[in-house]
């Protein structure tokens, strides 16, 4: 992009004005010229606002007169490929040259960048980015294309209908005139925004459905990509926080003598979540924190152990809970059945353990607060920060940077680590940028975990081996209780994120009941990649397998018969079974297991092959079939299936966060273990062709692997393992 000295304010006012009067609203696009709000800095183009000749038809893209197309992503790129996917939607309808497309993170502004599935809130989660943007961003691209064509038609004095656009070139074939986007940008900006646009027939797609390159690869292989931890601002300080060892403990006394004696340490600040050490750099802050002496008041602190909690949960499971689904008469069916099975499944607390530990940069001055973050929940974070500082939410500006993983952790209704950084920054001289860094130990021990859950299952088979009753009782903390989402997401005592994947069990069983206990605990909990399905798929798909064996049936065939009304479940199940050589013989000590599960409206089946040698479970091969509607980018989908499965495999085989007398027993990757390369199976991914609207792929592979592996272990050894991580007897 060239440097320009002249800022054409009159044009920009014109653009803003014309958009305001135009039919942008019918497109669901609010008429504000993005350039007005844009600023330079990490996560942004770095361009000065108001480039002459720039074309900003709506909030989602900008074309400069060098032809560079900048797509504004309202969603966080945390590895799931959303920058690539969203840009594909715009570029498809714009008929852009993919090599000339770049992506920039949107500012926090829910009036323009709300997640259409989240009402008026902006944020990323629940595998919704592509699904909620599919039409919105195609319309944004089609609108811009229409205006480029209008500009060409005016310039060449030809009818718009005779103009074609392909790969960033606008052409009038019969007269041989052609122009690239950049040449038309200035004139396009003066065209009327169309009231309606026609979107392509899927048959005409040139980018959607193709394995086109990711937009974030180049900067991520050279170290240039900017993560929150990489932000460097003049005069910036770095803070580490000493958190209490037990949840609920409070600061009683602070002795900061040792900390302040460390070279580079500038300040020690007591904040609601602990005591912060502010220094010139990370290492000084770390040494300062090591030298800090804090006495804690642990009178109200959490002091239980995981084993104790599991026993409490077991007792709770003896009593009826809040019913979320009740078909037929479960008790009667269980009472008169030939064969009744009962089992208990459980999963531990889990940390998200993203490679980038939690971090955040904050600067507070007279105009408000500016934040740099791998930002996953803009609207909630703006409100939380504004509340602490006595600001209006719109005075909280957020620069959305790449996140080094998140898996749900950066979308916290309590905005915990962001608010923590704000409390520290407000204690510093006004305008001082403050970077908060959590160490790995903080990230493991300072909370927000996937809750521990216990499932008690009972089922009955009739004399032909057909399941006639299914009774599932779930016990575990509510993620939603106490958050602003409670009124919308907790109904009749049921947090729907606790029961998703169980309350909607697809199998045709006449008498079916699911109920829930949500005990309160001071352990902070949060959604973790695939949320409720991370435990409901394990319990449900393993117990179905138990029933199949009990009935003497093949586990795939058994499922098929109960999924006749669920063609998309059936489709992925059949594809995975076929590609996974279901039924083919295996060697001694080997076994094959299957699981199928829908989450976030995407359907995934997996066939896992394991071999058990000297008491160790090795997962050798995993075949994955996915139905996520129209496949926007098959390569990204394949990557998410591989990676989402691998993430779930960590939890299936290794990871657990446990308490002993209220203390978290793990601290870093040596004891909170996650999958390594030598433990990664061979993976094959198959995508079901579909014309259905696209659904998410970031999460749905994760919950399926645990039950597939557990079922394979049973096939290999005869041992039915009902607790994660899987441990052979």
């Amino acid at each position: 992009m060239k440097t320009r000295d002249i800022v054409n304010l009159s044009r920009r006012r014109f653009v803003a004005g014309s958009l305001a009067s135009a039919a942008g609203l019918t497109l669901g696009i609010l008429p504000v010229a993005l350039a007005e709000q844009r600023k330079s800095g990490p996560g942004f183009a770095g361009a000065a606002p108001g480039e002459a000749g720039e074309f900003t038809p709506n909030a989602f893209l900008r074309i400069d007169n060098d032809g560079l197309v900048t797509v504004i992503s309202k969603h966080l790129e945390m590895g799931q490929g959303t920058y690539t996917g969203l840009a594909t939607l715009v570029a498809e309808e714009l008929d852009a040259d993919w090599d000339m497309v770049r992506v920039e993170g949107a500012p926090a502004d829910a009036t323009r960048y709300n997640n259409l599935f989240w009402g008026s809130a902006q944020g990323t989660g629940g595998s919704t980015a592509i699904a909620n943007s599919f039409e919105q961003l195609r319309r944004a691209g089609a609108t811009a294309r229409h205006m480029l064509v209008s500009a060409a038609a005016r310039q060449w004095q030809v009818p718009p209908a005779e103009i074609s656009v392909s790969a960033g070139v606008v052409e009038h074939k019969s007269s041989g005139r052609r122009a690239v986007f950049g040449e038309l940008a200035e004139l396009a900006a003066k065209q009327t925004v169309p009231e309606s646009v026609t979107l392509k027939d899927p048959k005409e797609f040139k980018l959607i459905g193709k394995r086109i390159p990711r937009k974030d690869s180049s900067e991520k292989i050279t170290g240039a990509a900017q993560f929150t931890s990489d932000v460097r601002l003049p005069g910036m300080k770095t803070a580490l926080v000493l958190h209490p060892r037990r949840f609920g403990a409070k600061v009683k006394a602070v002795d900061d003598t040792g900390a302040l004696a460390v070279a580079g340490v500038r300040k020690v600040v007591e904040i609601p979540s602990g005591v912060a050490v502010v220094a010139d750099d990370f290492w000084s802050a770390k040494l300062g924190r090591d030298a800090l002496k804090v006495t804690w008041d642990e009178s109200g602190a959490f002091k239980q152990s995981s084993a104790e909690l599991l026993n409490d949960y077991r007792k709770l499971a003896e009593k009826p809970g809040s019913v979320t689904r009740s078909d037929g008469d479960v008790e009667q069916a269980l009472g008169r059945a030939e064969n009744v099975l009962e089992a208990e499944y459980s999963v531990p607390f889990l940390a998200h353990a993203a490679m980038e530990p939690m971090d955040c940069v904050v600067r507070i001055d007279d105009s408000g607060c500016e934040i740099w973050n791998g930002e996953q929940m803009q609207t909630g974070d703006q409100i939380n920060v504004a509340t602490v500082l006595g600001l209006k939410p719109e005075q909280v500006q957020i620069n959305m940077l790449y996140a080094g993983g998140s898996f749900g952790r950066r979308a916290n209704p309590a905005a915990d680590y962001i608010v923590e950084a704000v409390h520290i920054a407000r204690a510093l001289k006004k305008g001082t940028p403050l970077k908060l860094i959590w160490t790995r130990e903080d990230d493991t021990r300072a909370g927000y975990y996937r809750p521990m859950y216990l499932h008690r299952l009972r089922a009955a088979l009739d004399k032909y081996g057909n399941p006639v009753a299914w009774d599932q009782r779930i016990v575990g903390q509510s993620i939603i209780a106490g958050t602003p989402f409670e009124s919308a997401m907790v109904k009749d005592g049921v947090d729907r994120t606790s029961v998703e994947g169980a309350a909607n069990l697809p199998y045709a069983i006449e008498n079916l009941r699911v109920d829930l206990h949500s005990p309160g605990l001071p352990v902070p909990v949060l959604w973790w990649r695939s949320v409720g399905s991370s435990h409901t798929a394990f319990a449900g798909e393993c117990f179905i397998d138990e029933l199949a064996y009990k009935a003497g049936r093949d586990p795939v065939e058994f499922r098929r018969e109960m999924l006749l009304d669920h063609p998309r479940h059936l489709g992925v199940l059949n594809l995975a079974a076929d590609k996974g050589n279901w039924g083919a013989p295996l060697g001694r000590g080997q076994g094959r297991g299957v699981a199928v599960h829908e989450s976030f409206n995407s359907y995934v089946a997996q066939v896992a092959e394991v071999s058990v040698r000297r008491g160790v479970i090795n997962v050798d091969r995993v075949v994955i079939a996915v139905d996520c509607g129209i496949a926007i980018n098959p390569d990204v989908i394949e990557a998410q299936m591989q990676g989402g499965m691998g993430f779930g495999l960590s939890a299936a085989l290794f990871s657990q966060l446990t308490f002993r007398d209220g203390l978290v027993e793990q601290s870093n990757y040596h004891d909170y273990q996650v999958l390594r390369i030598d433990q990664m199976p061979e993976v094959e991914v198959y995508i079901v062709p579909s014309a259905e609207p696209p659904t998410g792929v970031g999460e749905p592979a994760t919950p399926v692997i645990g039950p597939a592996v557990a079922n394979a272990v049973f096939a290999a050894t005869g041992q039915r393992l009902r607790q994660l991580p899987l441990r052979l007897a």
């Binding site: 790129e77 945390m78 590895g79 799931q80 490929g81 390159p213 990711r214 974030d216 690869s217 180049s218 900067e219 991520k220 292989i221 050279t222 170290g223 240039a224 990509a225 993560f227 931890s229 990489d230 460097r232 770095t238 070279a263 750099d281 990370f282 290492w283 353990a353 993203a354 490679m355 980038e356 530990p357 790449y402 996140a403 080094g404 993983g405 998140s406 898996f407 160490t439 790995r440 990204v636 990557a639 591989q642 990676g643 989402g644 499965m645 691998g646 993430f647 495999l649 960590s650 870093n668 990757y669 040596h670 996650v674 999958l675 390594r676 390369i677 030598d678 990664m680 061979e682 993976v683």
Partner: protein, 155 residues
């Protein structure tokens, strides 16, 4: 005063000699491509070269690096390094990308020793580099592809 050579350029820095090289690079040399994740040599995100050998910068005191050639992802310009980066791009290895500087440094070190690594060689060399996005299947393929490119074979 510490005399360092980072990516071929001499740097004089007045710092605690015990400060881990990682924080010298990130906070004092402005090179943020090398990442912090565990601080105890468990994850490999901070992998850099000292005289061509891979080390975990998070547990390497900067004094150990004085007088040696320090190479970070920003200065990875050898044929093996470029081949790895090209293969990473060709096979679309990256997801969140946070661990990938370290993965690329470890993979380059492997190919410097052995341009035709088999799966066991790759496991042994890469086992210390964690990726929570589990890009491992593609890392494996990309290392093999880079090896082929380096030895002049057709990819």
């Amino acid at each position: 005063m510490l005399n360092l050579t980072i990516n071929g350029k001499p740097r004089k820095l007045d710092l605690d000699p015990q400060m881990p090289l990682l924080w010298v690079l990130r906070d004092h040399a402005g090179l943020t491509g090398t990442k912090y994740s565990c601080g105890m040599a468990q994850c490999g995100s901070c992998t850099v070269f000292l005289d061509g050998d891979p080390v975990r910068a998070c547990v390497t005191p900067v004094s150990v690096a004085a007088g040696k050639e320090i190479t970070t992802i920003e200065g990875l310009e050898t044929p093996a390094g470029k081949a790895v980066q090209d293969a990473w791009k060709e096979l679309e290895v990256v997801q969140c990308g946070y661990c990938q500087s370290g993965q690329i440094m470890s993979a380059t070190a492997l190919l410097n020793r052995n341009s035709k690594p088999d799966d066991a060689d790759i496991d042994a060399a890469m086992q210390g580099n964690l990726c929570r996005c589990a890009t491992y299947a593609r890392i494996r393929e990309a290392i093999k592809l880079a090896g082929k490119k380096l030895s002049g074979g057709k990819a």
